[in-house]
Amino acid sequence: MNDADKFIIRKAVLELAKTGTPRFTSIDDDVRNLPKVNSKTINLWDYVTAIGAQLSRPPYDPYRETISLDISIGRKKSRKVSLNIPLIIYGNIAIHPSSLEAVHLALNRLAEKGNVLGLISEIDINTTNNNNRKYPLFKKVSFYKNDSLEHYQKSCPEGLVLEYKDQDSLRMLQNFRKEFDGPILVDVSEVFPLYIKTILEEGADGIIVDTDKVTKKESYKGKHAIAVIYDARNAINDYYKGREENDNDNNAILIIAGDVNSAGKIVKAAALGANVVGYSTSMLIAHSNMYSEKPSDASSIAENVYRHMVGTKGEIKGIPAALGYSDFHNLSPSDLRTSSIDASLQGNIPLEGVDRTYKEMIEEIVNEYVREKGIKLNSLEIQQILRFMVRE
């Protein structure tokens, strides 16, 4: 460990000892002119950055080289649904039928230009153009209505979305899985982080986690969306650990919704492990029209949504290219750095300048201390000290 590392650690540990809470900001905040924040208002997304391409890792030019955003949803046994942009319009907002119609028109227009993204909707699209839908629809199953699969298949959805609440949801998943050959996505926000392994065992093609909902739960009190994404990715990875079937092209996907509402956050969420983002901004754009003095018609609103999505696509193509990737889905946690110790702890993200996570650095200090003092501790006891030190 060099002097700079020791300086950061010492400062952080002293502050931890003094305040009882981990540091939120780094020593370079003044240099970067970040706003002064406190632990209650801070948005950790602002303290996470991506490492750009370097000498041996040249950036791709998204205008000349193909930067792929494509993803297919569905495991080996089921029918796959392909998206050209890793976004599904989905949000925790009440959808008005007229907003939905505008989004429908925008998605159709995007699909015509080769930009296929998905839509998750519980209500049917109130439009004469419904028969000409050119994008995949994931029909949200209303758990309490207890309808049969036929009811949901009336709108010919490419996929289904189930909200997991209890053992009855599992039975519903088992029943639908037997009859429905398209992708079934399961929203686990209410029970997160439990039951993911069971749900994947029963053949779910993807897990949806709404970070807004999860961070309101008692068990995630004070935690940020990055902690939720990190835990969700680990839960899916744990399912695949040691399995023969592990193959990135056919694995169950992770869809993150909630606090991921800009291109920068989409890229960071993808680096932390999200495969697809449940994106609500388009729906909000369409929805906001209802409250304007002169509401536009669905076609004009659709134009706004279309333009927004084209711009977002350009941004989420450009960032991976600047990082040296030709495929959006190659982003990984190692592309991120943070200047916040809290972000490092919650998302296991390396700290800027030292390229190691806060936990790794504390672990090194503990091990060094134990070695120097000749204290006899087993690995379990060392882990307990470490957990105490990082307030896990």
Partner: protein, 292 residues
């Protein structure tokens, strides 16, 4: 800016000291990289005792001690298990027919230490490294081997930008990686593919499909070499043929720079493989098909 090179003798000739050819090619490319160097030379049929050779580095207070263990088949699993449980051990090579030698320093330092110029073999690969993303230590020098299967070695120029993603995927399958170098991922990935279907060309095609970034690498197996460039062709890689003479049998050579082919007279049929299309050099039959 790393430099890679390889030689494969025509007619499976194993009595020629191909170490001296690799040495010449590496010396001519030394200007590209000076941090560390290494070779892997194969001599089919040389291992009469049927033991496995495991080379590893033991880290101790920042120093690296190289150890070689000869292990019979019946003790192999136990020995590998024990070695992989020790966090201070980095396995450098797992071989039956392969002689893998690497260290920090220049190629002449490697020759002074291991006399690489006198090593005979059917084929071999060499590497000159300038570190860009991981440390300059003997265990991070190329070639990279793997404990997934014996006699696999890889030399690599460039960067596998989605290294982290590929590594996680391999680790999820239970494979152990010993270094933070992206090149080790190539060796483990190819070995995993060879275990699945045994087809070197298919294994490399799969890697090209999955890997991102600018790279050229050469992978060596007991009977073949593959020269592979990324799908955009962002890194160099060429091969040429030396028809041989009274003193030297015919062979194919691969390298990063043309100067390396010049240095060993492999100036006939000089070509560069198309981006994303592996060029496989196997045995006499395969080489004849290249002539035609």
């Amino acid at each position: 800016m790393c430099g890679i090179c390889a030689i494969i003798m025509e007619n499976n000739n194993k009595n020629f000291p191909i170490g001296c050819l690799l040495f010449k090619m590496m010396e001519s490319q030394q200007i590209r990289a000076q941090d560390s160097t290494g070779v892997a030379i194969f001599n089919n049929g040389s291992n009469k005792e049927e033991f496995y050779k495991i080379d590893y580095f033991r880290k101790n207070n920042g120093k690296y001690h190289q150890v070689t263990e000869k292990v019979p088949q019946e003790r192999l699993d136990k020995t590998l298990y024990e070695l992989t449980q020790d966090p201070d051990i980095v396995i450098a090579s797992f071989a039956k027919e392969m002689n893998l030698l690497k260290d920090i320093g220049l190629v002449r330092d490697l020759d002074a230490k291991y006399k690489i110029k006198s090593i005979q073999g059917t084929h071999g690969i060499g590497h000159l490294r300038i570190a860009t993303s991981s440390r300059v230590t003997p265990d991070h020098a190329h070639p990279f081997s793997t404990i997934v299967m014996p006699d696999i070695a890889v030399v690599h120029n460039g960067e596998i930008t989605n290294y982290s993603k590929l590594r996680s995927s391999l680790e999820l399958q239970g494979y152990r990686l010993f270094t933070r170098c992206d090149s080790e991922v190539i060796a483990v990935f190819i070995a995993d593919q060879l275990l699945r279907h045994g087809d070197l060309e298919k294994a490399n095609n799969e890697f090209i499909k999955k890997a991102d970034g600018p790279f050229t690498y050469i992978v060596a197996t007991p009977d073949s070499l593959a020269l592979v460039r990324d799908r955009f062709g962002a890194r160099k890689g060429i091969f040429g043929y030396n028809p041989g003479n009274r003193n030297c049998p015919s062979f194919w050579a691969m390298a990063t720079d043309l100067s390396a082919l010049d240095s060993v007279g492999a100036t006939s049929h000089v070509e560069t493989p198309p981006p994303g299309k592996p060029k496989i050099f196997k045995n006499k039959i395969m080489i004849e098909s290249i002539h035609n």
